[in-house]
Symmetry: C2
């Protein structure tokens, strides 16, 4: 896993392949937040499509290309698609990480297929039973990482402890939060609240190698009381979709008013602020923590800049050796 290359699934996502390819170009431009050398990116997808896009843009700036003749569609059933399409961009992209030819894989494609391919192909990190999907949002001016956002809808208490430990390492190594505070998403702050799963997880987190600050509620998420929010994949997925669509719904109400009042200039600034606050692509997409490799799963609707951010996230995570630190941290008593 010593490669620092990033395999990019060119075929996944609602706007693939053009937005994905444009995102790769953008990640390598001097305008990017974190410029990535084109030589670090392996474009995985239909070869002729990739070549013709790059020709349009004045030639290949140095990307590697890995031809994948098959595509797993957004609506495909993950398990069946993985079996039926061994030459798909998702399977070949994960395969590049598995073979040590790349250190990370980025896809805006079918989430279930990415989780499945990564878990089967890469295996989990030592000490980790189940991977979890982590997303980072900047709700109150500082980043908070939430996991699991849907890899594991029925976790066991020790999975939640492992999520906490992995996300803490990620927050420290990649986001630069010194001693990340971990909260457990629950329906009340007191110990003893919630389902049997949460009661057991609370006890494990209290004694675990993380800075546990106790239960947090939906209302706490906007108060900056913790840096990591741990939850089961069912609740996490519902919450993530709800946040996204509630904010879109509110934006829609605002937009219609703004249009009526010629307040477009500052209105657009505001919309941008709010979009950034609830949009996890600000932090580059969802990181599949727990597999033996760096896997970033972006939103299906990702545009060029979201793709560039996802590539930057993969680069940061590879460069910070997060996985090595997770394994190392888990083997320590505290």
């Amino acid at each position: 896993m010593s490669s620092n290359l990033i395999a990019l699934d060119v075929m996944g996502g609602d706007k693939a392949p053009r937005a994905i390819l444009a995102g790769a170009v953008s990640a390598c431009s001097a305008l990017g937040l974190q410029r990535i050398a084109p030589e670090r990116i392996v474009l995985v997808g239909d070869g002729p499509t990739i070549e013709s896009f790059l020709e349009e843009r004045g030639g290949n700036p140095g990307f590697q290309v890995l031809h994948a003749p098959q595509v797993i569609a957004m609506g495909d059933s993950p398990a069946a698609a993985l079996r039926a399409k061994p030459q798909s961009s998702i399977v070949l992209g994960v395969g590049a990480v598995q073979a040590g030819k790349a250190g990370g894989f980025v896809s805006m494609g079918n989430t279930g297929a990415c989780v499945g391919a990564a878990t089967l192909g890469l295996g989990t990190l030592e000490g980790i039973r189940r991977p979890g999907i982590a997303v980072t949002l900047e709700l109150t001016g500082h980043p908070v990482t939430f996991l699991d956002m849907g890899a594991n809808v029925s976790p066991k208490p020790d999975h939640l402890l492992q999520y906490a430990a992995m996300a803490s390492t990620y927050m420290r190594d990649c986001i630069g939060v010194k001693d990340p505070r971990v909260g457990l998403l629950n329906v009340g702050e007191e110990e003893g609240k919630g389902t049997p799963l949460l009661k057991e997880a609370y006890a494990l987190l209290k004694g675990g190698p993380v800075h546990f600050v106790g239960n947090v509620e939906g209302s706490d998420l906007f108060r900056g009381v913790c840096d990591v929010v741990v939850t089961d994949g069912f609740t996490g997925n519902v919450v993530l979709k709800l946040m996204e669509h509630l904010s879109e719904f509110m934006l829609g109400m605002m937009m219609s008013r703004i249009a009526n009042h010629d307040a477009t200039a500052w209105g657009n600034d505001l919309l941008g602020d709010i979009k950034r606050a609830v949009d996890y692509s600000t932090y580059g997409g969802a990181l599949l923590l727990g597999v033996a490799g760096v896997v970033v799963i972006g939103h299906g609707r990702s545009d060029e800049s979201a793709v560039a951010n996802a590539l930057a996230l993969a680069a940061r995570t590879i460069d910070a050796n997060v996985n090595e630190h997770i394994e190392h941290g888990l083997s320590l008593p505290k």
Copy 2:
């Protein structure tokens, strides 16, 4: 249960007792959406406090008063408080329904204590195992009822079916939706998604006496695909708090911009629109469905108009004989 009186907990809520008493007065004014006769309202709380408030306002317009010398605080542990305070406004208010002296009880106080007092004091409706908290939101211009929002954090599949049936009856009788469509909150639309609980509930709902439209996701809540959303009390509670605080957070961002741009007039209109959309007190508070009596639990932060709305909700629910129809509907094959 033939009484149509409404017992109102004067002592519960962050702004009690003044906002509660003002709400009672407001519910009886000609300005209310649905005017309630003062003779229908029983004020339950500290007698002298109630009398002096009414004197300030020019005398008692016809309210009945039930003196309750004890108060269960918002932060009290429900089970312990119910044992320790048998003369509290919550216990006496539920007791009035139990004794047939009132048909409904409205409280903005401690939710757990209200659920506990109602379940113990009133028992559940015939055919109902566990009560669930229902809230109605008007997210896209038409009302959607969500339940359970926290009465039962670990429900069984048949509880979810009972929730669906109760909420359907409520939507038909009280909101006037002819054939309410029921969705099951899940992480994907396909059958077979989600936790074991949801898979079993899906099968029960499919064969149950409700108009089941399948799984719905967070994104569907704003698309008007169903009139009832069924979920477990854990997820429901997290979602409800999140919606409330996410919208407050967004409102905060807007307010600061609006203040900077002298757009106060239309800005305030907009804030009002959004608040109404995500505020369940528009529909009068949360209805505890499944107990043998009408119990409305308002938000602790309820102001005068929220209290008036809650009283109107109790009146509508009593007048529509929702509970009778629930019991009747459950005994029918379809």
